[in-house]
Symmetry: C2
């Protein structure tokens, strides 16, 4: 693929169109592939990645050198780098996905109707999935594995800084598919760094069923703005923990501390702490001293600053901010309704938590807060495909339609109706 | 609403924006509304519609008169007309929807994870639904009822020719909502015929969660082209019946006749008949004489025209045509694979049928044909929300994401994750 692509005078629209045609054809073969063929492919790709470790590192070295010359920052270079441990982790991820149950073909709710026909639903692949992501080579293997197991064909377009690494991984994937007798075009990794290829992919609505952008807000806004194809996207996470006046203080402190400090840069990290006014004087001083010992900057509303007199006041902008950093905004609220109003106005509908021992409060919060994950007495950091038992995830969707929250294999499938009759007609 | 709307100097963007703000606020109240309040509203709307029968007919008469002056064709005028029987049917539809189970709040799969948290999913409303439809007043009541029962707020924009009828129905809906203590803004019927209102609705992505266009292909293409909001759409139905060489001739004739002739203008009507070459001489002459007796025009491929020498040859364009008329294209195919290739190339992924007594063939067809409904030995005319037991439908989706096939109450909801812990933190 990459040889052809590089040797001809490069016509990006024609090249991308061809990827689409091939993916659509491969999707039919993948839709009827048996589980054991798909699992054989996944394990063979894992083997090839381990066997090709030296070549992968050599190709990755080219990307790293080019990246240094281009002056990429150290965080980017770190994400780009393939170490032995990361290569092993990629292979392990593939093997784990092969061990997950195959969602394709499962029939649910098959029931007789009064007319005599049987009606049910069968879980089937979406078809062709386009994934656009930044320069992390491991995503190439992860995304390919999830699409393959769910019976989809995919077109992967990784960040241009990872071109050599991604093409090297693509060759391992091709080998694995070949060993299982599956079409090599079931996974196609775009072999050009020309950014026009992204625009072409987004117009390929004839061939691609869904686009999954993985990366920063800029990428996601570009994709949703331009795409003619439905998008499963993860926008951002402004997550709240509300400490209700019926909270157990020890649990509140433990959970609110963990939700902020266990990792700062993740979308399910708490960004705003809401505290019922009547419990604030008992819980905030304990929490504040723990946060401050950890180096977390606190920004409080007026009433918070009365209780915690050594912190910065929060500005209006703070309530909408996804810090992804050791900063926390804190607001006192009068009651559960005020907390839910704040979440409705400022939240990003990702993950929100109530800490309470009161069943009526928990029941209302669970039903009324409109977020992809709603929790009682647990850290928002649990909002994750592995913790939820999905086995692996392609991302966390902040959309409401189709797939909401962590998106695993099931989110890459859809349900079609099946009808069984014996010569039944409608009268 | 309509009085305010008509008396001020009309600012369409501001008016539509206000609808959005009010709908978003109403959506929160609807999301937490109890089933009995929603059912009370549905039955009270039905009562109001029956009680207001004379006023409804008087308002409808204004629309009909204006329509005649504008020179609307008789089919359009017929769809616009409210008769006593149609008013009774609207009320009956509302009562049927009140009798359906409430999907909102159902929790599924709540299981303990190794970390000790419980994870499950709760079915919740989508939020705010925008529905754009043509001039059939009964859709106003049907769509309002489905949105109301599924806990959503909605903004309804019916065809301008039905303005007076729709506003009269809107007043009945408002009465019913009031009787149940639900916000009157849970159902808002756009009170202007200005077409700019549609464009404004499609840009209201801050307030509307999903747009459902109901109507002809032109409307649906405009909506999908312009909308910034996810769309659940029904595009068109090019449905196939494939008579396999293992078909029972009697069942094949019965089903294929019904699939074409039971109604001509519906999306689930068969448009192309595929016949295995080896069985064609036995089945086609019988079927052709039945179709011709019914006045169905047949258009055949070359090989078909050898067997049926009194029919028109089909052109290439015939295989992609949704006739919605007493016309049928017929093609001979060599085997199951050729039939599925034809369906993949020319079908619209709506509803496709195999007639066979062979289990292996049925099994392959069910799995491999990528359509919203796939059937064995049953008429494609069964693809319908009532026949499938959904109780009522807002349309038949030809999309793959979110809702595929007939869309009932469940299609107007989504699943959020819920997590229950007791002070659990992530380590």
């Amino acid at each position: 693929m990459s040889d052809t692509a590089e040797s001809r005078k490069f016509d990006v629209p024609a090249y991308v169109h061809e990827l689409g045609v091939q993916a659509r054809a491969a999707a039919r073969a993948m839709g009827r592939a048996e589980s054991c063929a798909k699992n054989t492919a996944l394990n063979a790709i894992a083997d090839a990645i381990v066997a090709d470790q030296d070549r992968l590192k050599a190709e990755n070295h080219k990307d790293l050198q080019a990246g240094r010359q281009k002056g990429l920052d150290s965080a980017l270079l770190d994400r780009l780098k393939l170490t032995d441990a990361r290569i092993e982790a990629m292979a392990e991820g593939l093997r784990q996905i092969s061990a997950l149950p195959d969602p394709v073909g499962a029939i649910s709710g098959l029931e007789y109707r009064p007319s005599g026909i049987q009606v049910g639903r069968m879980r089937v692949p979406l078809g062709v999935i386009g994934i656009i992501y930044e320069s992390r080579p491991n995503v190439t293997a992860d995304a390919a594995a999830l699409c393959l197991k769910s019976g989809n064909a995919c077109i992967l377009r990784g960040g241009s800084e990872a071109l050599h690494s991604n093409q090297a991984i693509a060759r391992c994937i091709e080998q694995g598919l070949g060993k299982a007798g599956l079409p090599s075009t079931a996974v196609q990794v775009v072999a050009t760094t020309d950014r026009a290829a992204v625009g072409e992919l987004l117009r390929l609505d004839k061939f691609i069923d869904v686009i999954v952008p993985r990366g920063g807000k800029g990428l996601i806004e570009r994709v949703t703005g331009e795409s003619k194809i439905p998008v499963i996207k993860h926008l951002h996470g402004v997550c709240h923990t509300y400490i209700d006046d019926y909270a157990d203080i020890d649990k509140a402190v433990k959970v609110a501390f963990n939700a902020k400090t266990q990792r700062y840069g993740t979308c399910n990290t708490m960004e705003t702490l809401l505290v019922a006014a009547s419990i604030a004087e008992r819980v905030l001083p304990i929490l504040a001293s723990q946060y401050q010992a950890e180096g977390v900057e606190l920004r409080g509303c007026e009433r918070t600053c009365v209780i915690l007199d050594n912190i910065k006041p929060a500005s209006d902008a703070d309530w909408d901010e996804e810090y992804l950093a050791p900063i926390l905004s804190i607001r006192l609220v009068d009651d559960l309704d005020a907390a839910m109003d704040h979440i409705d106005k400022h939240g990003s509908r990702h993950t929100d938590v109530i800490i309470t021992e009161n069943l009526a409060r928990a029941r209302r919060f669970l039903r009324e807060v409109d977020s992809s994950s709603v929790m009682v007495n647990a850290s928002s950091r649990f909002a994750d495909g592995f913790e939820y038992g999905l086995g692996a995830e392609i991302g966390i969707s902040t959309d409401k339609l189709h797939a909401r929250g962590p998106v695993g294999l099931e989110g890459l499938t859809t349900l079609k109706y099946i009808v069984l009759g014996d010569g039944h007609i409608r009268t």
